[in-house]
């Protein structure tokens, strides 16, 4: 009886620890919203205050509020530097089949391109290329690494 109780308590404690550690893990990274990366580890800058990339949720190509903000900054910079052309690279994480991810990368790059166009950037200044899952920035096999790899990156073409 007593032993049984102790065992049960131990189980509860273990369970609580697991829950806590799971939470702790999420908090300690603090770089994911849903599964979209919100950190700056891998971000480079096209100009001061103009991040070069935006991040996506798994299997999605919808732009988040933060992504739209980043792309508006890119559009403003492109309007100011009218001689610069860009390539938008679309990428996927490693958790999908190669061919589907090529298509998904293309869809993501075009989501970014379309948004830049609505902010006045001409289509002939923007080319897109999909790398699918072929060019990860983070080689980790965990949700945070994958979130950094689901991205579109704006690169100067000239």
């Amino acid at each position: 009886m007593n032993l049984n109780k102790i065992f049960k308590n131990a189980l509860l404690v273990t369970f609580a620890c697991l829950v806590l550690s799971a939470c702790a893990k999420k908090v300690s990274t603090g770089q994911l919203q849903g599964d979209v990366y919100t950190g700056t580890d891998t971000v480079e800058y096209l100009a001061s205050g103009v991040p070069d990339r935006v991040f996506f949720a798994t299997n999605e190509s919808i732009l988040t509020t933060k992504s739209r903000e980043t792309l508006r900054k890119q559009a403003a910079w492109l309007r100011k530097n009218s001689k610069i052309n860009i390539v938008v690279e679309g990428h996927a994480d490693e958790r999908g089949t190669r061919e589907y991810n090529l298509a998904l990368g293309e869809r993501r790059a075009n989501a970014a391109k379309d948004y830049l166009m609505t902010y006045g950037i001409s289509a002939d200044r923007i080319s897109v290329i999909s790398y699918g899952k072929e060019r990860p920035v983070d080689s980790g096999s965990n949700p945070l690494s994958w979130s950094k790899n689901r991205r579109s990156v704006t690169v100067k073409a000239n």
Binding site: N59, T97, E99, L102, A103, N110, E134, R135, S139, G140
Partner: protein
Amino acid sequence: MFFRYLLILIFLIPINSFALIEVDITRGNLSPLPIAVSPLSLDKESKLNLKKISKKEDLGAEISTVVENNLKKSGLFNPLNKDSFLQKPNIAHLKPRFEDWALIKAQALITGKVTFVDEKLRVEFRLWDVLAAKEMMALAFTTVPNNWRRVGHIITDKIYERLTGEKGYFDTRVIYVAEEGPKTKRIKKLAIMDQDGFNTKYLTLGNELVLTPRFNPTNQMVTYLSYFRNLPRVYLLDIETGIQEVVGDFPGMTFAPRFSPDGKKIIMSFAKDGNSDIYTMDLENRIVERITNHPSIDTSPSYSPDGKYICFNSDRSGYQQIYIMKSDGSNVKRISFGKGLYGTPVWSPRGDLIAFTKLHKGKFYIGVMRTNGKGERLLTENFYQEAPSWSPNGRVLIFYRETKTDEKGEGFTAKLWSIDLTGYNERLVDTETDASDPSWSSLLSN
């Protein structure tokens, strides 16, 4: 440029025999057939001459080792230890003393003889039923000495066919992507090898990213995706001449190519403005046809062996699922309804099954389903694996598998694996480097 195929002449020596031993390949074979592969005998003079050409001490023994390894890897046969053989190879080939072979529990026996005449390799072999004390098959081949490994593969195909009643898959090759370097800067090259991992040749230098090579089922052409000049496009490569050309003139990425069963068309995806649809191009008249027209992603198309249907991958339901349609794009029907996401459908050369990759709860599976989507069967589960390709007889699938990296992001590998349709006999396929995207050729001979 890369290879020259030399005709292997096959002389059939007619024999009378009854259906004796049989191997059932439709079930997981838990008791592989004990078989004795006696080294092919080689006379002194031939041995000496062949040693000069092939740099092999005993080419007869080498050929029988090729046969033995093939049989063993098929999972259907258990080649017995040569140390236990009592009869000499040359005598066994003339007239086996069946009681000696029965004593070591062999049920089948392979014997043979190699001679070197007029610069040609002549190989003959016989298959014997030990318990019935009868010859089941006798064949001879003549070829150039450099083809000696292929002779071993052809012998295996003949034995497999005689004992299982189905064509073999040993005189075949696999084209794949050889990989090197860190995960973030992977270098990829096209590579081709014999089905057993020998005779690897690299077809590209690694200057540009290459993906998803696939054989033409009727000849030695290959189609693949190359990022040449940073423009991802489908290419056609003749592996005998090394000549390559871009397929079609598309204003955007083309990818996921495959040949039609008659080898006359390439079917692939074309991506534009965030939408991927399926197209075909006729290789003779260069006419391009659009097959799907849907705002979702449509990719990974694969024809049925009669060319009348196409299975493909689409996320038109919201997530990746498998669909089939008529080859003109009409009658689109979803066939995958199980839990999870489905990708990379490939139609079996036998026509009755579709192999696929499935992602469910963070695990990847290789599985098969009937062409109406019923009878889903998962063959293997892992952290990451995808892209099954069928052996030409539709009995084995080859695919690639990647490992999880550690906390430092290290320890990544990509390797080829094979598994029988039964779900048994899962094996690592030897490659010189890391490897992915395998595609199995048709039988090279017959």
